[in-house]
Symmetry: C2
Subunit: 149 residues, 2 copies
DNA sequence: ATACCTGCAAAGTATTTGCACGAAA
DNA sequence: TTTCGTGCAAATACTTTGCAGGTAT
């Protein structure tokens, strides 16, 4: 597994590459994104940063999470019923097990798609009630619109 | 595949079983949920109903979709960046292919999880960029909290 | 010096709720 | 008749935006 420090470095390089200034607030937000393993939502990120930046604004957190996300360095995880959460400690698509009660999100390895449900239950101790599998990309029509050379 | 009429009957029985009155508005909303194959959002459901019920309120649509969902007769599909959408024409968990540009959502059969990405691209014509796989259930801790005799 | 960022407050969206009236059972 | 549902408007919650001053480069 990649270390949080490596992830942070990767995110900050990407920010620099794209001419985003490395303000202390932005750096702190990047650090939380790189380090958190619990898929925090915006408010949680905000709360983790507040101790070091008592005057930071929620808007700044929204803005910077958006920047990091738009650089492809964080993923958005939408949980129905729960809110929008973010994952930035790893970037490979992988399954999650979501507790419908406490909203805990556990990462799974992509390989577990093979043995599927059974192995998911074994690996997590969850009683899986349902699952959601979404693929994201471009449909044929949209792909062709893209190349109107 | 189950017919829309069957789905509608199933939804209305469930409503009756649970002592929900069958108002014309509620029935219309149930019908849209049962018939739609395109994973509509609230506003789309609303627009489909308005011709027959010009004075219907968006609040009524929200309330009734929530009722149907809470009875387990519709599923919520959260698309990051897009909004919350609903699927009620079938109830089995299954993969979706989501176009990141036009937001079209195409249903896939659960079996396609086996051959996975490759077959998804073949089946949909999508160029798949990423995917999301979530399992929902109860973690061990929450399950035990549930049975405090 | 310049362009970009931040905090604050206001403005948007999306969704939910209180209430008085109306309709299903 | 009684209970529940509806439409409307107001209230919430969440997220985005305009702006004036501040900061990274």
């Amino acid at each position: 597994m990649e270390s949080s420090e490596d992830r942070l470095r990767q995110i900050t390089s990407r920010l620099r590459e794209n001419n985003h200034k490395l303000t202390p607030q932005r750096l702190a937000i990047a650090r939380v994104i790189a380090e958190s393993r619990d898929h925090p939502d915006i408010e949680t990120i905000y709360n983790r940063i507040k101790p070091g930046f008592p005057r930071i604004s929620l808007a700044t957190v929204y803005r910077n999470v958006m920047v990091v996300k738009s650089l492809g360095e964080a993923m958005e995880i939408g949980i129905p019923g729960s809110g929008v959460r973010y994952e930035g400690n790893r970037l490979d698509p992988h399954p999650h097990a979501v507790c419908e009660r406490c909203k805990k999100i556990v990462d799974l390895e992509p390989e577990s798609m093979t043995g599927f449900l059974e192995s998911v239950q074994q690996a997590t101790g969850f009683k899986i009630m349902t699952h959601r599998v979404d693929f994201f990309g471009l449909c044929r029509a949209c792909r062709q619109d893209d190349k109107p050379s």
